[in-house]
Symmetry: C2
Subunit: 347 residues, 2 copies
DNA sequence: CAACCTGATTAAAGCGCATCAATCAGGGGG
DNA sequence: CCCCCTGATTGATGCGCTTTAATCAGGTTG
């Protein structure tokens, strides 16, 4: 056995030099075995591979990307990993990234903008191929920062400031429209729209769609907008309890909730707790078609967001932009939602 | 403006040298401003920081970790990002990692062992601080490989080969025991255990617990083990349909499903489709307490797995091992599950 | 036999940063 | 006036790899 080179602490593991020594070749040849096997004679390659196996050599990705100036990884920053829409986007992106030889690294911000900025910076410093960002809130500052360093970003499910980056969106106005329209088409006339965080662009868009459908229906259909404190289950319970306390005549007969969580919680309070039957007394539609929608106590009619496809499209846009060394025009891909009819608002 | 240094294509962005030139100092000083601010006089530091901002300098993490031989990131490989247990583990790990100044990078293998190995190797090559692995199947080959390179691994929710690495487990035998015991305690006598993939260690352990509870109950309680093809919803539907076709006398009156998905799908076929009331005719218990358990058509009684805490513990073990330069003894943390009683098997 | 070509291999030059010994400036004490 | 001490700064070195030009061995051709 060859004697080991002296090493400072912390720098464990054999290097290419060690492999080269063991195989009786130069480092350049070892590198070629790994990256351009065609350039190396079969016999030498075999000898090198044997040495690699014997020494347990692991290529140092830091050195590799230091030289090449780039990596093989795409970073994806997700605002809420608990939401199945985001999971779907990650899944679609994963598949597409893999197909183009890139690894997808996920980071969860749990809706914390500080964490989001940290992860954007981390990916920036890591020189990833590009970044996919699926935020909850306006994030143009962070995007601008890393874009100014030349790092490519594709925004998911949130409209960017015009011309700042590529994005993949769902036609959220149509989401709201489809939801309200379904209720109107099935004979509901006193609609309610439960909403919170009107400062989030997707939320705003959905509201516009709901309003459009109601206006289109003429004076026979009314719309009440109910402000919730937040978008999650706890807030839905509050809204549901408030509704349950109303005089029967004041109750809407059709309700659109801006998130599935809100919808399910409201149904729980009305239907299960207060005995106000869904959909008989009031039909409910959600706006995400989360994983839970189909298995809920009252299966939820919801407008489906095509998360998988969004992820795939985002990777496509990103790789397009990365490839186009020269001029690149930012693009926005808008995918259409689809209504999934279930028991909470049958046809 | 100083003239830009000539640059080969691909190596965009200002380097420390550029910053140093702009601020009229040496690279060493710029490095110190970033890493040891106390060593630099306030005036110089300010000048350097100004230059950093003006040039849009971004530290190159590859070079950084090439020198230091390590990174600031922990890699977490998850078998199934769709399962809320894994999400919970990621969440807990994230919080704990952040508390010790590490970034958590997530990777989803979608139960694909090839992908799992790829990500393990990626993290290995990236010289991450350590790796958290929450696999679906036996993974000792991959673990052994990267451990042999000196990379630390903590295994989550899957027992390692003795002495090979640290791990955080749930007492899965007790999971099965609690589930079966609850049915027995509430008067059920003809139990069934629906199971698949007996080659997965957690699945095996749960079975042992179920059997133990039944044996403990004596001859008045019987146990039938029903083999499912798989662990997911489609397989549950099949099992449910088979059960629904049985003669009423042949039906068990209590059922433990090894996953929540199986449980919910079985309840759907029995209760909703076939009209065999749950829990009246048959009580059902799940073994994970997934996010959907509480909101299902029939809220699911399930044994809860403490995912958040598992994630936190895993980070703790990992950092312990990383810190202990000298001798380290692998540890296994076993967390106890807890029964959550809901409508599908009331008390 | 010289000139030339081809394929395999090598030696050397960095990539951008952290680190550390060496240097420098500026007092204060003797 | 010289020496030493302190704090700030510098310059040089090397981390492990990829890449490129240079070298070499072994044919082939004129």
């Amino acid at each position: 056995m060859a004697t080991a080179r002296p090493r400072v602490q912390g720098h464990a593991g054999p290097s290419m030099q060690d492999v080269a020594d063991a195989a009786g070749v130069s480092v350049g040849t070892v590198s070629n075995v790994l990256n351009h096997p065609a350039k190396v004679s079969p016999a030498t390659a075999e000898r090198v591979r044997e040495a690699i196996g014997r020494l347990g050599f692991v290529r140092n990705d830091a050195a590799r990307s230091l030289v090449s100036g780039s990596t093989n990884s795409i970073g994806m920053v997700l605002a809420d990993i608990e939401n199945s829409l985001f999971i779907d986007m990650a899944h679609g992106a994963q598949d597409a990234a893999r197909a183009v030889g890139q690894n997808l690294l996920l980071a969860n911000t749990a809706c914390d903008m500080t964490l989001q900025d940290d992860y954007l910076d981390l990916f920036d410093e890591s020189r990833v191929t590009g970044v996919l960002l699926a935020p909850m809130e306006e994030s143009s500052a962070g995007i601008a920062r890393i874009r100014s360093h030349g790092r490519q970003v594709v925004l998911l499910n949130y409209a960017p400031k015009p011309g700042t980056c590529c994005s993949v969106l769902v036609n959220n106005e149509h989401v709201g429209y489809l939801a309200a329209r379904h209720l109107i088409d099935t004979g509901r006339t006193r609609l309610a729209y439960v909403v919170a965080h009107d400062d989030y662009q997707p939320v705003r868009d959905r509201r516009r769609g709901v309003r459009a459908a109601v206006e289109e229906a003429g004076p026979d259909v009314s719309l009440e907008e109910i402000d919730s404190v937040g978008l999650t289950t706890v807030h839905g319970h509050t809204v549901g309890q408030d509704l349950a306390r109303r005089a029967p005549g004041d109750l809407p007969d059709g309700l659109v909730a801006v998130t599935d969580e809100l919808a399910n919680a409201i149904i729980h309070e009305l239907h299960t707790v207060a005995g106000i039957r869904v959909p008989d007394r009031i039909a409910v539609v959600g706006c995400e078609n989360n994983r839970t929608a189909g298995t809920a106590a009252v299966p939820l009619t919801a407008v489906d967001m095509p998360g998988r496809m969004m992820g795939r499209e985002a990777i496509r846009l990103l790789m397009d932009e990365v490839a186009s060394d020269g001029r690149h025009r930012h693009a926005t891909v808008v995918l259409e939602p689809e209504l999934i009819v279930r028991a909470s608002a049958p046809s």
